[in-house]
């Protein structure tokens, strides 16, 4: 199946652009990014803090079955314009990847469809490339976890 998400990461540049079209009205798409209960469900994280306003802070955390923290990210929101744009900084704790800047733009296509455009800017080309390689490992783990879930349901 073809992926609906497009990633544009040019060689030697320190940013990426993630684009995706949704079969959702703009307002619903935006709510998925604006309400902690919804963020938790599709991101699979715990939302420890989410202040949806200028200078507001945010903090997400993900733990494994044993309660170990496997993902800890936080930052500051610089712009929060409903149905238009969220600009925030993003930093993963205990990693050497530095702080990245994320500009997420929301665009209405039709009454029932919308487009998301995330521009992620890293400090250096090297940091960007390292981050891109990251989910390589996690992706495999997640696939395994999902497999485990499916298998355990068969029992």
């Amino acid at each position: 199946m073809e992926l609906k998400t497009k990633i544009n990461a040019e060689d030697g540049k320190h940013d990426i652009i993630i684009t995706r079209e949704f079969d959702l009205p703009l307002e619903l798409l935006f709510r998925a990014f604006a309400e902690p209960e919804l963020i938790e469900q599709w991101m699979g994280n715990k939302v420890l803090k989410f202040e949806a306003k200028k200078y507001g802070g945010w903090h997400f955390e993900k733990t494994d079955d044993k309660g170990n923290i496997v993902f800890d990210a936080s930052g500051v929101i610089h712009e929060f314009s409903p149905n238009q744009k969220i600009t925030r900084t993003f930093e993963m704790a205990n990693t050497p990847f530095g702080v990245q800047l994320e500009v997420t733009a929301f665009e209405k296509l039709t009454d029932d469809t919308s487009r998301l455009n995330m521009h992620v800017i890293y400090e250096t080309v090297e940091q960007r490339d390292e981050v891109l390689k990251l989910p390589f490992k996690q992706g495999i783990n997640w696939a395994h976890n999902r497999l485990e879930e499916v298998v355990s349901k068969l029992r």
Binding site: I7, L28, L29, W42, L116, L132, K133, A143
Partner: protein, 107 residues
């Protein structure tokens, strides 16, 4: 381009992806690589052979041992590292869409 298709086949397998990850930070002998996997040694050898044929790995003789290391040029040339990243976001966004569709119908 034939090579490109081969490269995609090479990284389609999870064990081969894991081998590439393992070798990303160090070069290792076939035995050392195999010790990281539960898979039988000949299976790991087969994976190494495929990765070498696709020019993702290079062999280097040092004394009596052969070390495998990442062929950095080819790894960089292909944008395949982006593919799992894209897959991760696509999965998330699929979830988001399903979630919000349910959310909408509940209202």
């Amino acid at each position: 381009m034939n090579l490109r298709r081969d490269v995609f086949q090479a990284i389609a397998d999870p064990t081969r992806r894991a081998i590439l990850l393992l070798l990303a930070s160090q070069s290792l002998t076939a035995g050392a690589i195999a010790s990281n996997f539960d898979t039988a040694r000949p299976t790991v050898s087969k994976h190494l052979q495929i990765l070498t044929e696709c020019e993702l790995l290079k062999q280097e003789q040092s004394g009596r041992e052969v070390h495998y290391h990442i062929n950095a040029k080819n790894m960089k040339a292909i944008a395949d590292f982006i593919e799992p990243f894209r897959q991760m976001w696509d999965d998330r966004f699929n979830k988001l869409q399903t979630l919000m569709k349910e959310f909408k119908s509940k209202k």
